[in-house]
Symmetry: C2
Subunit: 338 residues, 2 copies
Amino acid sequence: MTMDIKIVDVASRAGVSPATVSRVLNNTANVNAKTKEKVMEVIRELGYLPNAAAKNLRSQKTMTIGVIVPEINNSYYAEIIKGIENKAYAQKYKVIICDTGNNKEKELDFLNLLINRTVDSMILVTPQLSEEELARIVDMNYSIGIVGRYVGNGKVPCVFTDNVKFSKEVVRHLVEQGHKEIVFLSGYADAIDSFERLEGYMKALREHHLPFLPELIENGDFNERGGYEAMKRLLDKKVSFSAVYAANDEMALGVYKACREFNIAIPGQIAVVGVDNDRISRYITPKLSTVSQPKIRMGRAIVDKILHQLEHDSLKEEDRVLVLESELIVRESSDIRL
Amino acid sequence: MTMDIKIVDVASRAGVSPATVSRVLNNTANVNAKTKEKVMEVIRELGYLPNAAAKNLRSQKTMTIGVIVPEINNSYYAEIIKGIENKAYAQKYKVIICDTGNNKEKELDFLNLLINRTVDSMILVTPQLSEEELARIVDMNYSIGIVGRYVGNGKVPCVFTDNVKFSKEVVRHLVEQGHKEIVFLSGYADAIDSFERLEGYMKALREHHLPFLPELIENGDFNERGGYEAMKRLLDKKVSFSAVYAANDEMALGVYKACREFNIAIPGQIAVVGVDNDRISRYITPKLSTVSQPKIRMGRAIVDKILHQLEHDSLKEEDRVLVLESELIVRESSDIRL
DNA sequence: ATGAAAGCGCTAACAT
DNA sequence: ATGTTAGCGCTTTCAT
């Protein structure tokens, strides 16, 4: 145990009361310039820092934000966290990270940090919780922000990109390249991203007067292995197709693997497009076409909204939801001219 | 503001004293089975969770560990964090992340979370701080753990891999492949990793009776661009060499880029080996030889040591430092037979 | 402009 | 086995 110095130590040494020290520390009332100077000096001398727990208890704030993500060590989430941490630091907030490993139990468990006041607010990145579950918490007046999907609740700020819109763009690009039979590789079925990307895919087909063929839909659970196996299933089924739109880059990597194994040329025989603009997409051969999302900005934006709401106790509806632009990046894997 | 429920609410509703509620909550003394049951029931009914700040203040613990890393969104650090978070969660600890962006000021600032008791312990991953600076903090009895480098201070647990050892392995492998003029691409000069990897390189040269040529040493600041530019400088200098040992995969990626630009075949004309086993190394063409480090295990291990020390207030010297095995992974970029 | 004192919600020492 | 009470270190009325 350290013999920490407390506010009374500073006070007595400076010849003032604890209240005055608190005042200069927090700029919370007028303090005579001379005494202020003296107090500051003693604080420096003693290297005093206010005990966080006492401060939190008394002020009912922790200056801490929690972030719940499915996997910290996935570059997509790591970038979002980066944005959150950087913005939070600039506003003097700390960040507690919670890695659920895609486990909903853990997600719920971490939410307790909000209830027991360990954090002032919780950011959920592509959460598994339903709108109702979210509503229950928000209605108890706890602060929550969402990254990666739209939420209807008027008290919940959310930041995301328009899955439907960029999915349509991907399909349009593929159609322009001459493809008519396009596979859609979905992530796990209950993820909102899977659903919306599929929706965009279907809408685009209709717009281009292409038939929707259910046998061209496969699920790859958002991971490489899933993509690999889905691709093998497609090959087994002997359905005819010339392009694959994978709902993320991970699965596209799996498609690459299967193609390598079966000697299928990309993009010569099969074009491939992914989503996320994972770093690997630029380095793999052939370079993978993908959709880039402004991950760091998403992180920064949600912090902005949450803190605004925390401080002003309100958020106009038009400020509540932010949909950021994503961008289709065409690379070798879907460009026959290359 | 929510009307939170407090321990007194639970107590009165259960017809007992706050002390008893605290006892069943913390299993800190014998409580009659019947009353215990009753208290638990009320707790569930009310959805009571103990206020964290009050608990922290009273118990002088926060059950929180801070982690300071140079860049969260770098897979090497993200993996270490993953290991830390998972182990911490299993022990009921939370994790606050601090991203310094390689800024020493920020590193020092984050250490204040230790002093002001926001966290019980702080893990520094490849810190920029000197041993003396660390010692100053540790001598005030604050708990610190280090990942990624050895520290002499007997009170500081540390976990790392043996840079010298694997560097020698890398050079030996290259020599066995017939290389005699091997470039060493260093990271920024003040990083301990740069220094030790260089040391291993030099020792290996001596062991294999190869001359040490200063013109074969270049600095690439641990990033891709630095590697690219270092490689161009080497090419400009017109020195002769047939292999490059880059102190991390990032720089190796830069070497790849330069070689592509100048039409140099890897490994035909120049062999390349990196360090870190970044995911990209398996996907790039040609596949990059590299050194794999057990990142997640490093994270888990340091948490183990720190918590042991926190609870037992001591750590035997033989338990204090852990050097984990790394492994040279030979892939296409340094194997002429492939 | 400054000080005295109450109290944030919990745990632990002491009493019963 | 259980209750009473002091106090963790701070902020914030309320006085002066």
